[in-house]
């Protein structure tokens, strides 16, 4: 009887954890993509001018703060090397906004957007991950 109870409790905890993980990963990457897209639009609006505007700096700082906050939780769920790739891409984007030209900024942002899409796939539950 005790074993039944323990087994059912374990099943319930795993079910709850799986649902929470999937929801959390999905929401984190949806929000990240929204923020990155907003920054891409802002950088494109700079035209031929430098992307080194206060608005762009504020947007990338917001992305960085958002990611740093959620990366700590994601590290409990996925391999740290995967979260590091996104941290790395954000770092590049931030530096290019400050010191680089517009093409470098766009390249870094598109890479960040791509990594976000790919890792949301890998970190969540998908048929490709299972098989």
């Amino acid at each position: 009887m005790k074993r039944w109870i323990v087994t059912v409790i374990i099943m319930l905890i795993i079910t709850a954890a799986v649902i929470w993980e999937q929801t959390y990963v999905n929401q984190t990457f949806i929000n990240l993509e929204t923020k990155v897209n907003a920054l891409i639009i802002s950088v494109e609006a700079c035209g031929d001018d430098n992307a080194d505007t206060d608005e762009n700096k504020a947007l990338i700082a917001d992305i960085e703060a958002y990611w740093l906050k959620h990366e700590q939780v994601l590290c409990y769920l996925v391999k740290h090397t995967e979260t590091f790739q996104i941290s790395d891409a954000i770092s590049y984007a931030k530096n290019f906004i400050e010191f680089g030209n517009k093409e470098e900024v766009m390249s870094a942002l598109h890479k960040l957007s791509y990594l976000g899409k790919v890792h949301s796939y890998n970190m969540g539950t998908s048929l490709e991950n299972i098989i």
Partner: protein, 154 residues
């Protein structure tokens, strides 16, 4: 280094808890599906032990899921002989009062020498000394000495 030390302790404790939840069956004679589980557990537990970049849940969660699967498999095979036969096989009488059943030995891929070796491990040195020899699904050999008048039912 301290990270790895703590991880090893946590995973070791969780593994012991899971093995205890699975019961004494795992520690005693193992059916084939239990052997599979034991081998898998050993491998799974070591995955996050030495690599701090892998979340500790990558080792703990599979252990818990294995326990759940094992729990239900054991319950099912107790309720259904068919499932038990599929998962564990069924015991086979290889020696009866009429002699050695060579057809059964052939089906089991056991030669006579191996059978004699198993008999000797049960302190039986002549098949004339036994009425029955039954090869259990765990691979153990059970013998009924001659003259005990016991009947075998599987």
């Amino acid at each position: 280094m301290l990270t790895i030390v703590i991880r090893v302790i946590i995973i070791y404790v969780i593994t012991i808890i899971v093995m205890r939840l699975m019961g004494k069956r795992q520690i005693g004679e193992m059916e084939p599906f239990e052997l599979v589980i034991t081998l898998i557990i050993a491998d799974l537990a070591t995955i996050p032990m030495s690599d701090p970049t892998i979340p500790i849940w990558y080792g703990i969660l599979p252990l818990l899921v294995i326990h759940i699967i094992h729990f239900f498999v054991v319950k099912l095979q107790c309720k259904s002989k068919t499932i038990r036969n599929i998962l564990s096989g069924s015991p086979v009488i290889v020696i009866s009062p009429t002699g050695i059943d060579y057809q059964k030995l052939k089906e089991l891929d056991i030669c006579k020498d191996e059978l004699m070796e198993l008999l000797r491990s049960k302190d039986v040195f002549d098949i004339k000394d036994i009425d029955y020899a039954i090869l259990e699904s765990s691979g153990k050999l059970s013998v009924v000495p001659k003259g005990e008048g016991k009947k075998v039912s599987l």
